[in-house]
């Protein structure tokens, strides 16, 4: 998409690009609560939505915002909320609800430093494990990452597409740098953008089962008000959507919630590789840090060091195969990230001890400077 210069070129902040991407994806409902550094997403949509009949609402708190987007999604609206660390923590119970009831929605989390109120205006990537395991219980989840304004735009569209396709909440993680960096976004022709809408029930209301067992493990929820009367609950439920205590049905349900994502992992996972083919040192980086890593790779190549970069665009499900493939080729892996090794641990697991994995963590609110990565690579070599 970024090479398509026939599209319109605009300068946008990452946060604004998310809002623009949501509009193109067909999102027409936003509920949120102000929090730095994500607030521009809400502000932008508060201007845009009323003009096109979309619905914006500022709720009384983060929990309410998450509840409202689930409610709106059940009426058939593509729904979005945006938040940051503390707000993301507050939303977790209802994110679990969306997983359990299989209600599509998108949550953008512009990460700042923590724990607690932490660093409201400074970047971090400390929520990557919270995005995976923040809500209680076993469940599958899709988490995307963006490293530029262009990607913020594209990944927001993809987040909606995946949410609608797999009937699940999708989390898009930005960090403060990406959210607040203004740069070029090339807006492609709308006819060239793939938009996925949720499927509609094929059967008549009397034969309808919202959570019918299917081969692809994806349920079909009819929008409220279209003649299909059914029940939605966060309790373990059967195919009709009613609560059950039947252990067999419960076991099947939880297995399916996990399997739904795992079995489609190849369709969901996306990575970007830079100079990885002949690399001796592999870097695994995401979000704004992947930009530092790309600079570092180029610098290393100038110095004759064969470095390469693996950038996951989807953090969860974790790209195990791609990491293992890299681990089998390189002599060492470096994982720079704005936390103390949250994804480095996953890289270690996925690489099955094939090579040493070196952590480069920063938690002081400063970005990772490409020179730091170069220095570490030099040390490893």
């Amino acid at each position: 998409m970024s090479n398509d210069h026939s599209g319109r070129i605009r300068m946008m902040q990452g946060n604004e690009a998310c809002a623009e991407g949501a509009l193109v994806a067909g999102c027409r409902f936003f509920a949120g609560y102000p929090i730095t550094p994500s607030t521009e997403v809400a502000e932008h949509l508060s201007v845009k939505f009323p003009k096109i009949g979309g619905r914006f609402i500022q709720m009384e708190d983060e929990i309410a915002a998450m509840g409202a987007i689930i409610g709106a999604s059940l009426t058939g609206m593509k729904s979005l909320t945006a938040t940051s660390g503390p707000g993301f923590s507050l939303k977790q119970e209802n994110i679990g609800y969306a997983c359990m009831a299989e209600v599509p929605c998108v949550i953008i989390n512009v990460m700042r430093g923590g724990p607690s109120t932490g660093m409201p205006t400074l970047p971090a990537q400390m929520d990557v494990q919270q995005a995976r395991w923040g809500t209680h219980g076993d469940h599958g989840i899709i988490v995307l990452s963006a490293s530029s304004a262009q990607e913020s735009y594209e990944q927001t569209i993809r987040a909606f597409n995946l949410a609608e396709k797999y009937m699940t909440p999708v989390i898009l993680l930005l960090d403060e740098i990406v959210g607040h960096t203004t740069e070029k976004v090339i807006i492609p022709d709308e006819s060239k953008i793939e938009i996925v809408n949720r499927r509609k029930p094929a059967e008549k209301p009397k034969d309808y089962l919202p959570y019918r067992e299917t081969e692809d493990c994806i349920p079909t929820l009819a929008p409220f008000g279209t003649g299909y009367r059914y029940n939605v609950t966060g309790l373990c439920h059967n195919e009709t959507g009613f609560p059950t205590n039947d252990n067999k049905i419960i076991g099947k349900l939880v297995h399916r919630l996990v399997k739904k994502i795992v079995m489609h992992a190849d369709d969901i996972i996306e990575v970007k590789k830079t100079m990885l083919d002949d690399a001796e040192i592999g870097i695994f980086a995401y979000g704004s840090v992947s930009r530092s890593a790309r600079s570092a790779v180029l610098k290393c190549r100038e110095m004759g060091i064969k470095a390469g970069l693996l950038e996951p665009k989807v953090l969860w499900p974790f790209p195990k195969k791609e990491v293992l493939a890299m681990a089998r080729k390189v002599k060492a892996i470096i994982v720079p990230e704005l936390n103390m090794g949250q994804m480095a641990r996953e890289v270690e697991l996925a690489s099955r001890c094939a090579v040493p994995v070196h952590k480069l963590g920063r938690v002081d609110g400063n970005p990772i400077d490409p020179r730091e990565i170069v220095d570490m690579i030099k040390g490893v070599v």
Partner: protein, 182 residues
């Protein structure tokens, strides 16, 4: 081909430096077809305190979006000058408000000292356009983006009805920069 030109605009929150940064980035990216990235760093307060906006301009791809070795630093306050001048590279440019920055940092760079705030208040008549006056000065002294592109970017960004005022501010700054160079 220009590899990477790094500009940092620093001052106190509320001086409109983030807007000035966006204008510079848009001038380079939209009106000159180059790549430009603007980032910001700020404290929790909307007014006061040291704040900065950075612009990286390049004819190639810009990976790391923040400044690494500054080509140009603009400082409108003493505090921001002290706090943000460490990354200024050898032979770089430091533009300061002569009325507000008294202690200069030590280093091998060229210093351009002008009464930026005073130009805005005395010659243009409004302190609110200090950022645009600064843009005029910077455009002339840096010489990396054309006067025309910056003007177009200003007009696209400022509120309707203030175009004339902002153009005057830019011209006064540009002229002051010109005088200093000649």
């Amino acid at each position: 081909m220009m590899e990477r030109y790094e500009i940092r605009l620093s001052g106190s929150g509320g001086q409109g430096l983030i807007l000035a940064g966006k204008i510079l980035a848009e001038a380079a990216a939209i009106y000159e077809g180059r790549n430009a990235v603007q980032t910001q760093s700020y404290g929790p307060e909307a007014r006061g305190g040291a704040s900065k906006a950075e612009v990286v301009i390049s004819d190639g791809e810009i990976d790391y979006p923040k400044a690494l070795e500054l080509d140009l630093l603009l400082s409108l306050t003493q505090e921001s000058c002290r706090k943000y001048s460490g990354d200024l590279k050898k032979g770089g440019i430091l533009i300061i408000d002569s009325g507000l920055v008294k202690d200069l940092p030590k280093g091998e760079f060229k210093v351009y000292s002008l009464p930026i705030t005073e130009i805005a208040t005395e010659k243009v008549g409004k302190a609110v356009v200090t950022n645009i006056v600064a843009l005029g000065i910077l455009t002339r002294i840096a010489g990396v983006i054309s006067e025309e592109s910056v003007k177009k970017a200003i007009l696209a960004r400022v509120p309707k009805g203030t175009e004339e005022l902002n153009m005057k501010a830019f011209d006064e700054g540009f002229r002051a920069g010109n005088e200093l160079l000649s």
